[in-house]
Amino acid sequence: GAGVSQTPSNKVTEKGKYVELRCDPISGHTALYWYRQSLGQGPEFLIYFQGTGAADDSGLPNDRFFAVRPEGSVSTLKIQRTERGDSAVYLCASSLRRSNTGELFFGEGSRLTVL
């Protein structure tokens, strides 16, 4: 597609449930980032993929969070046993290559609400 696509745009779930958020990056972009944005805050880095592998997952808050990118394109962020504090907008971004000087193309985000 023309831009980064994220689904669902909105997700409401109950505490303790499992959630998957999907990101479809711009075709040909090898780098993919996940960020989390809480109300009134800037994007918080979660994880970065270069191709299929997670090059840096230091931002994942705990082991309930996991992300995959099995074919080097679409990525899924997985959250187990959701908590109310996980409520936020989850942003995905992609860029052309690792040596790219950092211009990221963002999707519109997936808003997660945990009741």
Binding site: V4, G42, S58, L104, F105
Partner: protein, 113 residues
């Protein structure tokens, strides 16, 4: 570890006046610096970047930013503000040895007609 500070939560400017949105950074190596803008119900959009070379960089919509190494700053500027510039602005930094890009908390810019 790299970090970014945006000291102002909100900046108010009258239309037609110059605007400045402040950003300071901390990295252990040479920085790559960026500004992004977020309009209501829209994704973040890239405005401009500093990688190397001229300290004054120009970007989209008439915005520019000045890299100051001694003050570790990268303030966003525009000579004449438009009402349509009202949005949330984020400064971001990357250490050139690392691919992780860290964002500031954002500054809300209000341009008053």
């Amino acid at each position: 570890a790299q970090s970014v500070a945006q000291p102002e939560d909100q900046v108010n400017v009258a239309e037609g006046n110059p605007l400045t949105v402040k950003c300071t950074y901390s990295v252990s190596g040479n920085p790559y610096l960026f500004w992004y803008v977020q309009y209501p119900n829209r994704g973040l959009q890239f405005l401009l970047k500093y990688i190397t070379g001229d300290n004054l960089v120009k970007g989209s919509y008439g915005f520019e930013a000045e890299f100051n190494k001694s003050q570790t700053s990268f303030h966003l500027k525009k000579p004449s503000a438009l009402v349509s510039d009202s949005a949330l602005y984020f400064c971001a930094v990357r250490d050139y040895r690392d691919d992780k890009i860290i964002f500031g908390k954002g500054t809300r810019l209000h341009i008053l007609p």
